[in-house]
């Protein structure tokens, strides 16, 4: 009996050890580790990867979804455990990785050749290397219920003052005017980026470089206003109930259920927010002061990069596939703005979004989205600062000063 127990426990132990050993081994098939940030269609993207794998049977996919690109990749880069195929944002983080040889330069791939030039600058490093292919062109804008606007006799506002009037009318009708999402980076994608674009970019057109050098002065009234605007919306009762516990998907779901008349969100959500039961249309976010020209957001979406390593050939294959023959799967699931010159297969781009982006392209001055230019270490500060301002714990000016300090510290 005891001998049996002994044998059993040794077997169990051996089994456990064997399993753990087996996890780290590799065989003839190439196990392509993919770490992807794609919060709105995680399951679908996994399916796309499987389609790619089925077309290349010797490749097996190990698919991980990640919440935040920089947070996930930074320790991996440091310890040499980089996944083969990764999501990467434009900006200094990726640039640093490619200049250090952790990511490969993809300028000569079929994917790069098929990509419009407008989305390459953010993905190009100081040494001139292209470290990633943009996942699309993106912007953020206001989605709204057309019928409600018609009933209330209002039309899309063109500047901040008109925006406040529109919200007041909606509130008067007993409805929630707009959804703001302060819990996570969504608010940075919307309120902060547009505030920054309209208040600060016109007098700081070289903001990319200023952030890099740490000379961007953000302890200003202009920056404080970026925070103050959201506080104003909340204080006047234009935002949804449960404001401070509304996260990315919560906000989206609220709009889809018709619980708010307007929603401030990204173009990448068009696939989810446009086909609602009620008719939804879009208009550019009116974060400009009346009389001033709007500065719209034209930014790149989280794209993909390939890590230097034994599987880089397969990584490039996947990259070319996603931006070539396999592009339509991705594009049609999201309906966002394509970055490829020649989308093979039928692609879906909602007419409303097309109208919007064509209009945006007419503006001379545009700005990027926050994560493309602020230091990686300050990213999680923006939602927190908004939360503190909304809680009344920091004045907008104090929030601006805190961010200014953190941005300068990060570059030291």
């Amino acid at each position: 009996m005891k001998k049996a127990l002994l044998v059993l426990s040794i077997l169990l132990l051996a089994g456990g050890l064997a399993f753990s050993a087996g996890q780290q081994g590799g065989q003839e098939t190439v196990l392509l580790t993919c770490a992807i940030h794609i919060p709105d269609i995680p399951e679908k993207f996994g399916e796309f990867l499987e389609i790619f794998a089925s077309e290349n049977p010797y490749i097996k996919i190990d698919y991980t979804t990640i919440e935040d690109v920089e947070t996930f990749l930074k320790p991996k880069a440091a310890t040499g455990l980089m996944p083969d195929f990764i999501s990467i944002n434009g900006g200094d983080f990726g640039a640093d990785l490619v200049d250090r040889g952790i990511l490969i330069d993809v300028s000569n791939t079929a994917a790069a050749k098929n990509t419009v030039d407008a989305v390459k600058p953010q993905f190009t490093s100081p040494q001139g290397k292209l470290f990633g292919i943009a996942g699309g062109v993106s912007s953020s804008l206001v989605y709204y219920q057309k019928a409600v606007f018609k009933d209330l006799g209002i039309s899309p506002p063109k500047n901040w003052d008109e925006f406040l009037k529109v919200n007041q009318t909606i509130k008067g009708a007993g409805k929630t005017a707009i959804i703001i999402t302060p819990v996570d980076g969504t608010i940075a994608n919307t309120a902060w980026s547009h505030g920054f674009a309209n208040n600060i970019v016109p007098s700081n057109t070289d903001y990319f470089q200023k952030f890099d050098k740490g000379t961007m002065n953000l302890d200003t009234e202009a920056h404080a206003d970026v925070f103050a605007k959201v506080k104003m919306l909340a204080d006047r009762g234009y935002t949804q109930g449960g404001l401070l516990s509304t996260a990315y998907m919560d906000g989206n779901q609220l709009y889809v259920q018709g619980k708010s008349v307007q929603h401030f969100a990204g173009t990448w959500l068009a696939g989810m927010l446009l086909p609602t039961e009620f008719e939804t249309d879009v208009y550019p976010a009116p974060w400009n002061a009346s009389g001033k020209t709007k500065v719209p957001i034209v930014a790149t979406e989280t794209g993909w990069g390939v890590a230097e390593g034994p599987h880089k050939k397969e990584g490039i294959m996947l990259l070319d596939w996603l931006n070539g023959p396999g592009f339509h799967y991705y594009q049609n699931a999201r309906g966002n703005i394509p970055h490829v010159k020649d989308p093979m297969g039928e692609v879906k781009l909602d007419a409303k979004i097309k109208t919007y982006i064509d209009d945006v392209y007419t503006y001379k001055l545009t700005a990027g989205l926050w994560f493309e230019f602020i230091p990686a270490a300050t990213m999680q500060l923006i939602p927190k600062l908004y939360q503190e301002v909304l809680l009344g714990q920091k004045t907008p000016r104090e929030a601006a000063a805190a961010f200014d300090k953190a941005a300068k510290d990060a570059v030291k």
Partner: protein, 285 residues
């Protein structure tokens, strides 16, 4: 006469206490019922009728979808392997150590024991950060063995405490008579003491096994490959993607239900053992 009055008083008091207890336990069960009945509903029904499950609303859809999305069988396997390996280490190393400490008369070992007991109170966070870097250096990230060793290092002091306390209650004559019969220490450990440790081992398994099965922090910081994720970790990343948002609640409920099912079944089946384990562990404290 007085006795009768006292009896009546007792009975009334018992009734009152029972009533209060009933209310309290019902209140406690409410959140569980909330999850249970909503795990078997479609999205819209959850908001419309949050506390009632009508036969016509019953659907396995949410549970099944959550089961698939979580890649449940693989996660269950991961959690199981980690549990088994960790418990194996804890029981073997812990019982051996308890044996050694309890049976030696060494002042040295007793001092070590005192230090071990003090270590029990130290927070995991104190070791957490360098531990992760050390695991990376040893190549034990993304391995069952690595996680098991983390749990072992962390929980061994407590397990040794339990075993030592228990073995100390076994009369020393047992070992002495074994020695007279010519048993080496190893033999007496194996043949004499180990069989006696069944009940305390049960306590150990429950007091440490359950937290290991349910833990989130350690897998979260030691695993980068999702294929190795445990049930709690996968549930966290799964819901984090969708957000505990309004219409995805059915998946949240389905997911939490299906993740909790194994431990619930075990608990329902072994209630007495669980409670006895906790109590005896507490008494040793």
């Amino acid at each position: 006469m007085r006795k009768k009055k006292m009896l009546g008083y007792h009975r009334r008091r018992k009734l009152l206490i029972n009533l209060v207890m009933l209310l309290i336990t019902l209140a406690l069960l409410m959140p569980l019922w909330y999850v249970l009945n909503n795990a078997f509903k479609a999205e819209q029904e959850i908001v419309r009728r949050p506390l009632v499950l009508r036969p016509q609303d019953f659907t396995m859809d949410s549970v099944i979808r959550a089961f698939r999305a979580l890649k449940y069988p693989a996660r269950f396997l991961n959690s199981s392997i980690i549990l088994v390996v960790s418990c194996f280490f804890l029981v073997t190393l812990g019982s051996a150590a308890g044996f050694g400490i309890a049976l030696s008369n060494s002042r040295f070992l007793n001092r070590i024991y005192t230090i071990l007991v003090a270590i029990i109170t130290l927070p995991f966070q104190l070791a957490m950060v360098p531990l992760i870097f050390m695991l990376k250096a040893m190549g034990l990230i993304n391995s069952y063995l690595g996680i098991a060793l983390v749990y072992t290092g962390w929980f061994l002091p407590f397990v040794i405490f339990l075993y030592t306390g228990f073995i100390r209650t076994i009369p020393k004559e047992l070992e002495e008579s074994g020695r007279v019969d010519g048993c080496s220490l190893l033999q007496s450990y194996w043949h004499i003491y180990l069989p006696l440790l069944k009940s305390i081992t049960g306590t150990v398994l429950i007091l440490r096994g359950v937290p290991i099965w349910n833990d989130l922090l350690v897998p979260m910081i030691t695993l980068t490959r999702s294929t190795l994720a445990t049930l709690p970790l996968k549930l966290f990343s799964f819901i984090g993607q969708y957000g505990a948002s309004m219409t995805r609640w059915n998946l949240v409920f389905g997911g939490t239900f299906v993740v909790s099912l194994p431990i619930l079944i075990v608990f329902l089946a072994l209630q007495r053992l669980f409670i006895r384990g906790v109590v005896s562990g507490a008494v040793k404290g």
